[in-house]
């Protein structure tokens, strides 16, 4: 067991208050490569971890504006430039009639970008994590809350990490090993 590569240490908590306290402690100790795993979003954890605000809204609005502009331009070009047809005595570029589709294109582009941006930012689509295929994964998607200290962090040491989690009252500390060294 001892020759397996340690990739991190996880401390499991049973309630959100202890988790928040632990997160603040880890943040203040100066760890950068660490994370909290919870079965549901815990209010205030972003602050406790010291996370920067998410850029999601900018992604959504930018994509939406691009979508709306493209739609209006497409309708202008098709109705007034490429093949102008006089319909109902209206101008070729009768923009008020183009508003509904411009709006729908805004929402469509914004929605696609929100989904795509979320997948990229949350690193979904990656199954490569020492947590997968580990019993601890089931615990943190079901009911318990874990603080993971990554072995790649400069401050990481197996004993010091253990001590840090112990200091904040964690009673269930487990070592995470690299997946490729698994026995079973």
């Amino acid at each position: 067991m001892s020759d397996r590569k340690v990739v991190g240490i996880i401390g499991l908590f049973d309630d959100p208050d202890s988790l928040i306290a632990a997160a603040k402690k880890v943040r203040d100790t100066g760890y950068t490569k660490w994370d909290c795993h919870t079965p549901y979003p815990v209010h205030g954890l972003d602050d406790a971890m010291g996370l920067k605000p998410t850029p999601m809204p900018y992604i959504t609005i930018t994509a939406g504006l691009i979508g709306g502009a493209l739609a209006m331009y497409m309708m202008y070009w098709m109705s007034a430039v490429d093949y102008p047809v006089r319909i109902g005595g209206k101008p070729y570029f009768s923009w008020p009639a183009f508003v509904p589709i411009t709006f729908e294109a805004f929402v469509l582009f914004a929605g696609l970008a929100t989904m795509g941006g979320m997948i990229v930012l949350t690193k979904l689509g990656s199954w490569a994590s020492p947590l997968h295929d580990n019993d601890v994964m089931g615990e943190v998607t079901s009911s318990r809350m874990g603080v993971v200290l990554d072995a790649d962090d400069e401050k990481f040491g197996e004993d010091s990490a253990r001590d840090l989690l112990g200091e904040v009252g964690c009673q269930d500390i487990r070592v995470l090993y690299a997946a490729d060294d698994e026995e079973a």
């Binding site: 549901y40 999601m56 979320m118 009673q171 269930d172």
Partner: protein, 465 residues
């Protein structure tokens, strides 16, 4: 692998009362077990029976669909001047059903209405299946669905001509397809953490693999939750104006014409209210059965049904107001054709449909003023069923305005054929097939959201430091 034994050399006592933490752990695990129980057990005979019935309906739908394509839409009761019959009625009916799902999942989310949590997932699923069913009708009405993309979308074609962007029918194409895509993405986003929970509970290899792939490797990481929660909020923010726009655009199909009764400004708000009305009635119709059958009465309580019934009552009043206002404006306008159209609507060939519409949509829902009726399943159930029927007839009544236009020589009544009835009945079969599959394979209640609202699930002392 076996995790090493827990380290017992802790330096401090836990900072909180351990019994509270133990209760939270028990609550969260119970939520997981209760909500996922239907997914983990073998289908019961009642489910199989219901699924069999739905399959019969779906087969009827398939047969009538293929028959229509093979013989042409002449097999329907449509004629001149009633160029639109059951197909558009069914289309608007199903789209309207879908709207309650978006209202519950997006608008009530933005308004921080916590009571939406247990019903939101189910209502969203209903939205998606209703939109899928609705989309079949314009598709089959094109006669040649495999060519429909050329008529519906601005694609380069041999004639070098483009679609007409000034037509409400084209707006419909964009509105409904955007609505379908955004609803699916919103729903899937909500599902990801729950699929991960299902993956980690799964015992069977195949289940683990399928849920594992679908959950995209979700780890419950807070660095992910942070983006995820904002994305969910943004989806809610996008869906809210979207749902209002979709039914407004659908109503433009009947509002921007010059036919009497089809030239009116009241339609967009009236259609949106009607959609919410019929949608909530459908959610109630289905969820009353679902909660009993899956034993989720403690998750979806009578309080939730009471609140839904109040929304049905409020929207019934809005719809009733619109019916009266239509009649009033027809009279007040002084236009003889307008007056004739509305008198004919209430007393003409389809006066019976108008009577069903008013009874089911305006008169019967008034019973929901009584608390006892709002909170008793056997009383409320017939009412919500009546609303479903009434709202189908509302669209039928509007479309039947076509049978008396300006020119008496072109007047013609509409008589549905067996194909029309088959498609209507079959569409329910298709809808229930999808819904029953959803109930078996996916969590019908948003687990992560239910956990989030569990007592003691959030840290004490406010949301922020």
């Amino acid at each position: 692998m076996n995790p090493p034994p827990p380290d017992s050399s802790t330096l401090e006592e836990p900072v909180v009362d351990s019994s509270r933490a133990a209760k939270l752990q028990a609550d969260l695990r119970k939520l997981d077990a209760d909500i996922q129980a239907p997914m983990e057990s073998f289908p019961t005979q009642r489910w199989l029976g219901a699924f069999g019935l739905a399959q019969i309906g779906a087969v009827i739908f398939l047969i009538t669909f293929v028959y229509t394509i093979a013989r042409g839409i002449g097999v329907w009761g449509n004629n001149n001047p009633v160029g639109w019959g059951f197909a558009i009625t069914n289309f608007v009916f199903w789209i309207g059903i879908g709207h309650a799902g978006t209202l519950i999942s997006a608008i009530l989310y933005l308004l921080r209405q916590k009571w939406r949590t247990p019903i939101a997932r189910f209502a969203e699923a209903m939205t998606i299946f209703a939109v899928i069913v609705a989309l079949q009708f314009p598709l089959v009405h094109t006669g040649r669905p495999w060519l429909a993309a050329y008529w519906l979308l601005p694609l380069p074609n041999a004639n070098n001509i483009w679609v007409n962007f000034r037509s409400p029918l084209l707006w419909d194409v964009f509105a409904v397809s955007t609505y379908a895509l955004v609803s699916i993405m919103f729903w899937y986003t909500g599902l990801i953490p729950d699929l991960a929970a299902a993956r980690d509970r799964a015992q069977h290899r195949v289940r683990k693999l399928v849920y594992g792939i679908l959950s995209l490797g979700w780890k419950g990481s807070n660095r992910a939750w942070q983006h995820y929660e904002k994305a969910y909020l943004l989806f809610a923010g996008l869906s809210t104006p979207l749902v209002l726009s979709v039914h407004s655009v659908v109503s433009f199909d009947f509002a921007t014409s010059v036919i009497p009764g089809w030239h009116t400004t009241i339609f967009p708000p009236y259609f949106v209210a009607g959609a919410v009305f019929s949608g909530f009635a459908m959610v109630a119709t289905l969820i009353i059965i679902m909660r009993k059958y899956f034993k989720l009465q403690h998750v979806i309580t009578l309080d939730h049904l009471d609140l839904m019934n109040r929304i049905v009552l409020v929207t019934s009043l809005m719809v009733g107001y619109a019916y009266m206002m239509e009649l009033f404006i027809a009279w007040y306008s002084g236009v003889v054709f307008e007056r004739f159209a509305f008198m004919n609507r209430a007393m003409g060939s389809y006066g019976w449909a108008y009577a069903i519409m008013v009874t089911c949509n305006v008169i019967l829902p008034q019973l929901l003023w009584f608390k006892k009726i709002r909170r008793t399943i056997k009383f409320m159930y017939p009412i919500v069923i009546a609303v479903n029927i009434g709202m189908w007839f509302e669209r039928f009544v509007i479309i039947m305005a076509l049978h008396r236009d300006y020119l008496p020589s072109s007047w013609h009544d509409f008589t549905p054929t067996w194909v029309d009835y088959g498609m209507l009945i079959g569409s329910f079969g298709l809808f229930f097939t999808l819904l029953l599959l959803f109930c078996r394979f996916l969590p019908t209640v948003a687990i992560a959201e239910a956990k989030m609202d569990a007592p003691g699930a959030q840290p004490t002392g406010g949301h922020h430091e």
